[in-house]
Amino acid sequence: MSLDVMIVDDSAAIRKILHRVLIQADVPLGKVIEAGDGQEALDKLKSAMVGLILSDINMPNMDGLQLLGALKTQETTKSIPIIMVTTEGSSAKVMEAVSLGASGYVRKPFTAEQIKEKLAGLI
């Protein structure tokens, strides 16, 4: 069974790298939907549901924590596992993400192994 994934990051480079890592991790990928910020992600999720979201925090328009908060309060999206992939490394940000319902937290720079480890517990 394939897994549809959404990658949310304002950097096209990071979206490309994460897509490659998902393939390397042997994730049974279905559709991969990309979004450049939290608002674009919310808009795209109105017409396409996914089974996993990888999201940056520091983005324009709507940041990753706002996106996380919005998704966890909606009935249709609250059960989607969300992994934060970000340069924000302070314990305060990690705690905030966890309290909002993040399933995992990976700091940039990351290795493919770190992403695989986080995915292993979720899929």
């Binding site: 950097s11 990071i14 520091n58 340069t87 924000e88 490394g89 302070s90 940039k108 720079p109 990351f110």
Partner: protein, 178 residues
């Protein structure tokens, strides 16, 4: 926050990003202090802003050819010219380097915000920061060329005002004590 501490943070963060994401081992060049010097006059320059109790700017700069090589390493493909993907990749490298410096700074200076990177590419441009701030400039040897990380950090307005008040009070306190 001392120049020496900033140099240590910048070296660690930059080497971590380059070795983990690009597979490149950077070599140290001697660091130095500069005035109003966020970058070179040609090539690619990415700048981010830092804000909090302390505030300032940080930048990463390199030649156009090096920007293509770095992007190639990051995205595993070759770039024959500077395009949007190269500029985006250099912006993200800068975001990761200075984002990691910010994380270490926050342990001492409290929460800080990091702006979205601005990336500039061209020839014969001039960059300067307003004021007479001193920049910590940390060069590295990267695949035979020099790349540089610059950082300028000063107490923010609120903190400066408190320091100023404290400095004014010191002579009065000393007079009272004597």
């Amino acid at each position: 926050m001392t120049h020496e501490k900033l140099v240590g943070m910048i070296r660690q963060a930059t080497k971590d990003v380059f070795s983990t994401m690009l597979g490149i081992d950077l070599q140290d060049h001697p660091e130095y202090l500069g005035v109003s010097a966020p970058g070179p006059s040609e090539g690619v320059l990415a700048i981010v802003g830092l804000a909090g109790a302390w505030a300032g700017s940080g930048s990463f700069s390199c030649s156009a050819l090096m920007a293509q090589k770095i992007s190639g390493q990051l995205l595993m493909q070759e770039y024959a010219a500077i395009d949007d993907e190269v500029l985006d990749a250099i912006g993200e490298v800068t975001n990761m380097v200075l984002g990691n410096v910010k994380t270490v700074l926050e342990e001492e200076l409290g929460p800080m915000g990091l702006s979205i990177p601005t990336v500039i590419y061209g020839r014969n441009f001039t960059t300067r920061s307003v004021g007479k701030s001193q920049w910590t400039i940390v060069p590295f040897d990267c695949l035979g060329e020099v790349v540089e990380v610059h950082l300028c950090l000063e107490p923010g307005k609120e903190l400066s005002a408190k320091i100023s008040v404290a400095q004014q009070q010191v002579p009065a306190i000393l007079t009272m004590l004597s």
